[in-house]
């Protein structure tokens, strides 16, 4: 096995990202979703709490697993809603961001390359199939993690700032948030990537890949939403375990994708 050529990998990543930022179909969802989820939503919740519209959520808290509900239930009632939503419920929902960014970029990198007929040029260059695959993975994975982390920083600032009049302290990140950001988020980004690598092998255009991917990715989103509404609300150790599982599935998908990612197979499907 030859050594990885970092310069070649970097060149492909840079080119893909540069091109992706010029494409509305890629940039718009990458901006809109994080802004809505991580800035607008927490602000609305926190502002609502500040207005004194203190919904009684004790009956809801009763349904939650004891250990999870306890830190929230202990708080004064006017603080409960904002801490519950911004401190806990939004954390799983946040996973939509890395999932979406990585799958949109991967669809553009794998299926989009075929669609634009630029793949053949690339195959005629001195870059190994393995390095090319690596570049395509990194080109989707790194931005997904970067966008989600940047989004989280915005979220933390907004959530804490807007809720300050009510809480007079910092309440984000919670431990659950930290696990989600550092461990589960990147795993989910890798999962979106693994799915899109498989899907893109069959799809002819990036749009098609996104549509087929949606069949797989959407249920995951629904799951994330389900979690956030409390149905599947998890505790920290469970979140760590889920992250591990997602990493394993993502790894398996990418590994299988890599084995099919040979020059000859790519050139056959040009």
């Amino acid at each position: 096995m030859s050594r990885v050529d970092p310069a070649a990998v970097r060149a492909v990543v840079r080119k893909d990202l540069l091109a992706a930022t010029r494409s509305k179909a890629v940039v718009l969802p990458m901006l809109m979703v994080p802004v809505l989820l991580l800035v607008v939503l927490p602000a609305v919740v926190a502002l609502g709490a500040g207005r004194g519209t203190t919904a009684d959520i004790s009956s809801f808290l009763d349904q939650l697993p004891g250990e999870l509900a306890a830190p929230v239930a202990r708080l004064p009632q006017r603080e409960q809603l904002v801490v519950l939503v911004n401190g806990y419920l939004l954390a799983p929902l946040f996973l939509i961001v890395p999932l979406m960014v990585s799958s949109v970029l991967a669809a553009d990198a794998f299926a989009g390359e075929k669609e634009r007929r630029t793949l053949e040029t690339l195959l005629h260059l001195p870059i190994t199939g393995r390095d090319l695959f690596l570049a395509k993975l990194l080109g989707a994975f790194l931005p997904a993690v970067a966008v989600s982390w940047a989004g989280f920083v915005c979220f933390a600032v907004v959530a804490n700032a807007v809720a300050w009049p009510v809480l007079h302290r910092l309440y984000v990140p919670t431990w659950l948030w930290l696990v989600v950001i550092v461990w589960v988020g990147p795993a989910v980004a890798a999962l979106g990537l693994g799915v899109m690598v498989r899907v893109s092998a069959r799809a002819k255009t990036a749009q098609e890949a996104n549509q087929i991917g949606g069949v797989v990715v959407l249920p995951l989103i629904v799951l994330a939403v389900g979690q956030s509404t409390g149905l599947l609300l998890v505790e920290v150790p469970v979140a760590i375990a889920i992250g591990g599982l997602v990493w394993a599935v993502a790894g398996a998908l990418c590994w299988r994708g890599a084995r099919r990612f040979t020059r000859d197979q790519l050139a056959t499907r040009l």
Partner: protein
């Protein structure tokens, strides 16, 4: 230098290339001809190690494309059929990516990209996104990219399709120049027979994946038509007695009447003065004698089994 033996490849059981055999020396231009779907693009992909053969093998620059592909691709340049550029990027950005993968970076890359784009008349459009660029403009940018690293072997898949006449002529001159001054070897796929004729040191005629003929155009012509055709301008169609006079001369292989005289097939050009002398001696006015060496076009059509517009013996 460039060699293929029994090179074959099928897709889903459908044969795209069947038993191709080629060889060429450094500095030669190998022209791949043949109707759509003949297997030209497949040949290029196999020779540059992008596709793997089902059977047979090849060597380019002493390397086996199937096993030393990346080593080989460092030294080859390819212009693909569709220019293969990202429309969202500028010409410079497209070329910079390819250059960086080839290990050309920084000022050196900048200098080469600018130079190469200017050489193809795209200097003024180097920094705007390619979106909206014309077919020919794209092709020029792609050509600039294929030549950036001064490749030893250049694969050009229909380089002049979509180019205007001036650009076409420039590309042909460029190919001739590259082989002459740098000793680059060129594999050229084309449908344009005159340009192929100007450049070809060797021609391969493919049809549905099979090699119909391979060799130097003049040798292929000699195999098809012995000797040399010469048009005699006699001011009008030659009469049977005149044809008899010509036929009686030494070195004449055949003769037939034509609109303005006769077309004679002679062993070689040394036979021409004797023919003219015999005609003059027989009181026949000779206005001109023009050798008509077979062109690549004639050879191509003859191999296709079709009459050529200008076949050396009038029948093709």
């Amino acid at each position: 230098m460039l060699e293929a033996v029994d090179l074959s490849r099928a897709f889903d059981g459908r044969v795209a290339l069947d038993g191709l055999g080629l060889e060429a020396d450094a500095g030669e231009v190998v022209v791949l001809l043949g109707p759509n779907g003949a297997g030209k693009t497949t040949t290029v992909r196999l020779l540059n190690g992008v596709l793997l053969p089902d059977r047979g093998c090849s060597r380019v620059l002493g390397l086996d494309p199937a096993t030393s592909g990346d080593q080989l691709r460092r030294r080859t340049g390819v212009l693909t059929e569709s220019a293969g550029l990202d429309d969202r990027l500028s010409a410079r950005q497209n070329l910079a990516a390819a250059a960086a993968i080839r290990g050309i970076r920084g000022n050196e890359a900048e200098r080469r990209i600018t130079g190469s784009l200017e050489r193809f008349g795209m200097g003024h459009r180097a920094d705007v996104a390619l979106q909206g660029a014309s077919t020919g403009e794209r092709k020029r940018v792609a050509l600039a990219g294929a030549l950036l690293h001064e490749p030893e072997v250049l694969f050009l898949d229909e380089p002049t399709s979509g180019l205007d006449p001036t650009a076409t002529r420039d590309v042909i001159d460029l190919i001739a120049d590259l082989t002459r001054t740098r000793g680059s070897t060129v594999v050229l796929c084309t449908h344009l027979l005159p340009e192929a004729g100007r450049l070809a040191s060797r021609m391969a005629v493919l049809d549905r994946g099979r090699l119909r003929a391979y060799g130097r155009p003049d040798e292929l012509a000699a195999a098809l038509w012995p000797g040399l055709a010469v048009d005699l301008d006699l001011g009008g169609p030659a009469t049977p007695p005149v044809l008899g006079v010509v036929h009686g001369c030494r070195g004449v292989l055949g003769v037939e009447a034509a609109a303005s005289g006769a077309r004679v097939r002679v062993e070689d050009r040394e036979a021409v003065p004797a023919v003219v002398a015999a005609l003059v001696a027989a009181d026949v006015a000779v206005y001109g004698a023009t050798p008509r060496p077979a062109t690549l076009e004639d050879v191509y059509f003859a191999l296709q089994g079709e009459p050529s517009p200008a076949a050396p013996d009038g029948t093709g």
